[in-house]
Structure formats: C-alpha cells, structure tokens
C-alpha cells in the first residue's frame, strides 16, 4: 500500500507541475494590464512602472515563473493586488465558507442519495424506483443557479410567515456576532502559528464555531442560512449518488451469494445492508470523491446566487479584476485538492474491496 501511494505521488508530480504552468500562463494571458485594472484612472505610466516593479511584473516571464515555483514550494502563494493581502491569508478567510457549504451539500447528497438509491434497487421497477430515477434524472439536469434562485423565491417569499421561511442570502442575520471558540475557551494561541491558523480556520465556519462555543442562537441562524445554498449545490451530486447506488446495488443483489444469504434465512434487512450494500460501496467511493470536485465548481454559481463570499466568489471576482495572485493561488489550491482527492479515491478502493491488491 505504501509503495502504491508513493508511486501515485511521484506520478502526480508532472501533473502538479503542469497545473502550476497552466495557472501561471492563464494568469499572464488575461488581457489587460493589472495595474490599470487595480488603479483605474490613477494608473499613470510612472505609477504603473513602480507597481510592476514592486510586484515583479517587469521581469522576464521565465524568471517570474521560477520565482513563482519557488514561492509555492515554500507555501507562499503571493499577494493579492486587489486586497493587498497575502493569498494564504485570503485562503484562510474564504476557504472555510466554501468548505462548510460543500460539506453541508455533500452531507445532504450522501444522506438522501444513498438511501434513495438503496430503496430504488430493493424495490426495483416499483413506483418508488420510477419516481427516484425520474427525480435523479431531473436532478442532474437542473442548472444549480436556477434552482438556487427558485428556492430563494419559494422559501423566502412564497413561504414567508410560515415555519418553512428561510433567508434568501448571506451567512448570518444582521446583528448577530460570532466570537471565535478559542477566545471563549480562553485558549492561548499566538498569531502566525499553525495552531492559530487551524483554530482561526475552524472558527470561520459558523456552524462548527457556534457548536464549539455553545452559541445555539447563532447555530440556528447559521443552519437556516446554510440550508438553501447547500441544498441547491447538492442536487447534482445527490442525483448522481442515488443513480450510482441503485445500479451498484442492482448488480450486487443479482449475485449468487445474495441468493445464498437469503436461502440461509437471513432477514431482508441484513442481506441488503450487510451483504449487498458493503459491496456496492466501491463505485460509490468514486462518485462521492469526484462529487467534491464538482461541488467546488458549483460553488462559484451558488456563492454568486446566495451572496456568499467563499472561494468560488473570490476566484470569479479575481478573474474579472485581473488579480493574477488570486487566480493563480486559488486555482492551484483547488487543482491540488482535486489531485489529492483522486489519489484518496484510488487508495480507498483497497480498503473497501480486499480483492484489490494495489501493491
């Protein structure tokens, strides 16, 4: 197993290098001068020369690329022209918002998608199966931005005044303040250390922070704000997971050992959950793993619709403002995350199916 992981890691190096090259090239090819994009009318030639020199933009492209690789290797993703902040700082600020949203969406997809897929397979060709598959087909075909807008309309306007009313945008209601859990706990964390970064990262996720700080009012408010965007974002992965669970379960349920288990007198529940479901998990691991990548793409649209300032939104803003640093830094982080995710999916096969001998 260790050999396999190492081999996969080595094979990922050319891909990672390619990602770095692609993001560097894309950011440099964005039309327009970043100085003029940032400073607008104030961008005189003298000011721009100074700006380009300060940010190393007047150096030859190969040198800029070399500097870029060196900085990334040291965990430095550079600075944002627009926000005048290190990218790492922006990542720590924005990533928790997207992370919380994606996690909630994934939770929805798994908790709803898997049971629906199992029920559809067990009751194959029944009305439950037909309705589930119809819904799954509609789910994968639905534009996430349209669903988000429609949900906001229904739950904040049509259902206004009922117990189902939900906020149409934002993360918290006006007037609510969150205090980082580490301050409430009286933890002594020094700024700049790893423990501070980690604590700060967690505390920016409103749901986690409110649980850790036992602030139930904020928790309730944060959850109600999270439901609509998470549900909108979860539709496509939920439908994919339901479809995949159904087809994997149908394949397993038709095998001889399932018939044997039934013939031995085992209960239907036991056969489905213990014998069939475990073996249907393998293809599911792929779909769930890859769905996480899709969630990041969908987050750009969901965050735009629900006015959330996460990674997707800042990346979009960075592109429109020609902020090289943001485009490079965030794209690299997302792509590396994607590569690592693929590796985890591959490795998880070995754990889920002992027949697979990876090394």
């Amino acid at each position: 197993m260790v050999t396999y992981i190492l081999r996969r890691l080595v094979l990922s190096i050319p891909v990672l290098f390619g990602i770095l090259f692609a993001t560097f090239a894309l950011a440099r090819l964005i039309p327009g001068d970043p100085c003029r994009a940032m400073l607008g009318e104030k961008a005189t030639k003298v000011v721009c020369d100074e700006f380009n020199h300060r940010h190393g933009l007047d150096r030859p492209i190969p040198i800029q690329f070399g500097v870029y690789i060196n900085e990334i290797a040291h965990g430095d993703f550079g600075n944002s022209f627009r926000y005048s902040k290190p990218i790492t700082e922006l990542l720590i600020e924005r990533l928790p918002i997207t992370f919380e949203l994606s996690l909630a969406a994934l939770l929805f997809s798994v908790l709803v998608g898997i049971p629906l897929g199992v029920i559809a397979a067990v009751r194959h060709n029944s009305w439950v199966d037909v309705v589930t598959m119809l819904w799954a087909n509609v789910g994968v075909s639905m534009p996430v931005f349209w669903l988000g807008l429609m949900l906001a309309y229904i739950f904040s306007l049509t259902l206004k005044g009922t117990i189902f009313q939900l906020p149409p945008s934002g993360r918290l209601s006006a007037g609510l303040i969150t205090v980082p859990f580490y301050e409430i706990w009286g933890m002594q964390v020094t700024e700049g250390t790893f423990s501070y970064t980690l604590a700060d990262f967690i505390s920016r996720m409103n749901v986690f922070n409110s649980i850790l700080s036992a602030n139930w009012e904020v928790l309730k408010d944060a959850v109600t704000h999270l439901i609509l965007p998470a549900f909108a974002l979860s539709t496509i992965p939920m439908a994919l997971i339901a479809r995949m669970t159904r087809s994997a379960m149908l394949e397993v349920l038709g095998q001889d050992y399932i018939r044997t288990a039934r013939a031995k007198g085992l209960s239907r529940r036991s056969v489905v959950l213990k014998h069939a479901f475990r073996n249907a998990l393998l293809p599911l691991a792929t779909v769930i793993g890859l769905s996480l990548g899709g969630l990041l793409g969908g987050a750009v649209l969901t965050e735009t619709v629900f006015n959330l300032s996460g990674v997707g939104r800042i990346l979009y803003d960075g592109i429109t403002a020609r902020d090289y640093g943001i485009v490079q830094g965030f794209t690299v982080v997302i792509a590396i995350f994607f590569v690592v995710l693929n590796l985890i999916v591959d490795v998880s096969y070995a754990y889920l199916d002992p027949r697979i001998r990876l090394d």
């Binding site: 087909n137 639905m142 534009p143 349209w146 429609m150 899709g294 793409g297 794209t331």
Partner: protein, 318 residues
C-alpha cells in the same frame, strides 16, 4: 393441448433475418423499448422543431423592444404573462410569457433560445470530439513519448473542475458566445481523447490490424478505417451526454456574464440578466431555467438510453 409445428424453412428465415439485423437496428429497437429514452427523444424532437421554426412561431423578433413594435405597444417592463385564452383582457397585447426588462417579448426570446442552445451543444461537442479523437488516436496508436505528452496534458486539464477552467479560459480569450463555446470545447476534449485512446489501445495489436499493416496499409488508413470505427459506439454515448453538460456549462457562463452577451436570446444570459428581479418577476427566471433543464434532461435520457442500448452485456434484452 395443442402443439405448434414450425417448418424448418420458417426457422431458417427467422435465423437469417436475425443475422442480418445490424447494430443500429438493434440499438433503435432497444432505445424505443425504454420509456425514458422515448421521453428524451420526444422532448428533443419538439426542441428541434421549435429551433427550426422559431422565426414562424415567434410573434416578435427576439431583440425587438415593444416600444419599437408596429404599432408601438403600451406594456410595462417585466409585465406578467398575458394570455387571452386564460382571461387576459383583450385591450392588452398578448405576451404568453410576459415581457423582459427591455420590453422584449419573452416567449419569442425563449423560442429563439432553443436554436442557440442546440447549436451550442452540437458545436462544442463536435469540436471536442474532433480534437479529442485526433489526440486520443495519436496517443493510443503511437504510444511512447507522444502518448505520454498528450495524456499528461489531458491529466492537467482534468485536474481542474471543468466550469472553473472554462471560466479561466473565457477570461483569457474574452467574454462572448463563441469564446465560451471554445472554452467549453477545450474543457471537454480530455473525455473524448481518453475514450478514443482506450479503444485504440484495445484493438491496435489485433490480427486484422496487423493484416492491414502487412498488406501495406498506411498509418492513416489503419487508424481511421480500421481502428477508429471501434471507438464510435462509446463516442456516441459520451457525445450525447457531453451535449447535456456543454449546454449546462454554456448557460452557467452566460449567467455569469462570460458567455452570450445581451441582447442575444440565450437562456443562461436571459436568466442572469433578470436574476435580481426574481422576487418581483419570477417568471423571467423560471422559464429560461425550465427550458435549460428540459433540454439537458432530454440529452441525458437519450444518452443513458444509448449507453444501455449499445452495451453488449445487455445483448440478451434485444
């Protein structure tokens, strides 16, 4: 109890007729047997019909403001649907889906949008299939460093969430419908390249390929006449499903303002332009989104049906 006797002649005829059934006939039969595929084909047929006849079906030009209509109409911006058959007063002009923020007839724009969406789907997938097929075939056939370089580039493209990469490419080459199509096409290439490469790898060492080589067949003939026809089936399935995701991605880019630009009647762009009015004029958001969903659904249902119909493991169901 009666027994039926079948003459050997009849049996032979049936066997012969079975033998002469082509893959496409079997596929058509299986497709028509699947209700979901039939639903997909019906939706698609309606969409194609609408796209082809939009200029006759649409009561107004998709870019015409009602102020410039002949005679000019007194309608409000983002007016609600007005259908005479449903009790709308006759003194008001009929607008089946209302008017948009620029006083254009929403129904006419929706009809023309079908044409654009189908064009987007087919053109991006055609572009991606052509480039993907050439790259996949070259990589699979020649192997070695050519294959390595091509597949590593494909791996890099696959390392980005497709929509994010498409957004980044559009930003570089500039917003606009054609550029958005190009970006979605580029993002889609790896899927086709992988399918073709896999098919080429599976047949390039087969006897009939070696025989063609021994008979003096050149690389072009071997690749395009002997090997690539084997990749046609997975390519058709991938292409049909690819059209669905291309339409979704194009709509997303237009929604973000990076694809089709106003006043082009593109569903994603129409939706994006009116998104802030969702609470006051929800119909202007509802109809374009519904149309996108139905189009994507049609291609997904057809793609799923084709995948099953072309799957040799399901041969017994034919």
């Amino acid at each position: 109890m009666t027994t039926q006797t079948v003459s050997p002649k009849k049996l032979d005829a049936e066997a012969l007729s079975l033998d002469s059934v082509s893959l496409w006939q079997i596929t058509r039969r299986r497709l028509l047997r699947r209700k979901s595929s039939v639903v997909g084909m019906v939706i698609l047929a309606i969409l194609i019909l609408i796209a082809l006849t939009a200029q006759w079906l649409a009561p107004y030009s998709p870019t015409l403001s009602m102020l410039d209509a002949d005679p000019p109409q007194k309608v409000e911006k983002r007016s609600s649907p007005c259908i005479y058959a449903l009790g709308c007063p006759k003194d008001q002009p009929q607008h089946i889906m209302g008017t948009d923020g620029n006083l254009r007839d929403e129904f006419s724009r929706m009809l023309y949008g079908a044409r654009l969406s189908l064009m987007i789907g087919f053109s991006t997938v055609t572009f991606a299939i052509i480039i993907g097929t050439v790259l996949g075939a070259l990589g699979g056939y020649f192997g070695g460093w050519i294959d390595n370089v091509i597949m590593r580039v494909m791996d890099v493209l696959l390392a980005f969430p497709s929509l994010l990469l498409a957004i980044a490419i559009v930003t570089v080459i500039g917003p606009g419908l054609i550029n958005a199509l190009l970006a979605i096409g580029i993002v889609s290439i790896p899927a086709y390249a992988r399918v073709v490469r896999g098919s080429v790898l599976s047949v390039r060492e087969m006897d009939y390929v070696s025989a063609t080589r021994a008979l003096g067949g050149n690389t072009f003939e071997i690749l395009f006449k002997r090997i690539l026809p084997n990749a046609l089936t997975p390519l058709i399935v991938q292409g049909t499903l690819g059209i669905a995701s291309a339409i979704l991605d194009a709509a997303a880019l237009s929604f973000l303002g990076l694809g089709a630009q106003p006043p082009t009647p593109e569903w994603g762009s129409m939706l994006g332009a009116e998104r802030n009015q969702v609470f006051t004029a929800p119909h202007l958001v509802f109809y374009p989104g519904l149309a996108i969903m139905l189009t994507v659904l049609a291609f997904n249902l057809l793609g799923d049906g084709l995948r099953d119909a072309l799957d040799p493991r399901l041969a017994h169901t034919s």
